[in-house]
Point group: C2
Chain length 222, copies 2
Amino acid sequence: VSAASAFAQQPDPAIVDLLGGLAYGELSAFDRLAADARLAPTLDGRAHMSAMAAVEMGHYTALAARLGELGVTPVTAMEPFVAAVETFHALTEPSTWLESVVKAYVGDGMAADFYREVAEFVDPGTRALIHGVVADGGRAEFAVREVRAAIGEQPSISGRLALWARRLVGEAISQTQHVLADRDALMLLLMQGTGDLAAVVALIGRITQRQDERMAALGLSH
Amino acid sequence: VSAASAFAQQPDPAIVDLLGGLAYGELSAFDRLAADARLAPTLDGRAHMSAMAAVEMGHYTALAARLGELGVTPVTAMEPFVAAVETFHALTEPSTWLESVVKAYVGDGMAADFYREVAEFVDPGTRALIHGVVADGGRAEFAVREVRAAIGEQPSISGRLALWARRLVGEAISQTQHVLADRDALMLLLMQGTGDLAAVVALIGRITQRQDERMAALGLSH
């Protein structure tokens, strides 16, 4: 390709969707974690969750910069995903500190697993960026410590937290389906990447398996 | 001093107060900026203020690490300052996006000026840390652009914003006085550092002068 045609080249809409959805997810996670930090029973817990929020903003900045390189304004790329992400958060507003901790771990973990799977189907540069921004950054350890300590003190709360985690999973799946039904390029990437229905089932199986592992780590499995 | 006596040495309480107050100020600024970002009329403005919040968290982490090196837990060092900082924020809750932008710039600017002055009276390591964490990080430019654009569109808002800025200054001074009246070591540092009343007056004059410059930059001076 000549320099002129390379310049005129439009970025792959599936990549723009992937980065835009992820960027809004990070911006929104920042916002929610910052708000949830207020639920912390201690200043230490509050600082910990605030630091997790700040990490999401660092990821957002990296994604926005990449979108800029592709010639797309971050706001344009994010807009198609605002409604679904906000609906997810509105339906999963934590009412206690432990619910917010479980949400930070389970919600973020599931999203990360999904993005890591999709990252397999894109160019190596985008893949590396996605792997970087969905890295856990120590929140698993924090969540596991907080939740296990709380269950240790009061075992009866585990049932309610397990239900809460299942609700998070359900709402996340529901919103992901809505988004995919609306975004043809993203759906196509997923279909072509997986190849056939068996591969889609295997992908869902891997994500479910990792979710079960998180529940076990929290002490919330049966 | 021998290694043993150096080990047993207690950290200077004025330094602990300085770092603790600054640390809680950063944690609290993070929290407020993250909440105020929701007032943004655009996703772009929201991302901008969220990024400013994340920068404060980076500063918090640096201060908490330094307190740790001094053998003080951050929470212990912060606790004496929680009430004053929270009172300041409760009395200066922005009701519009522009008020939040002015607060981010004016409130942060005044605090930074105060800390830079006090940093002159402490050891070089602490001084360098303080200079690093009160660095502006581009928020002046952002605030000036947002406020000037808004005044350009609707000149009548400048009077109300100017009043708002003066209220921020008044509440900041009031809470600083409360804190100093309560923290002997910090007050002593300030008294010994300045040396005499004339120097205190000169310090207040410099801070006032810089505040006037900020008001002029925003287009809010008369």
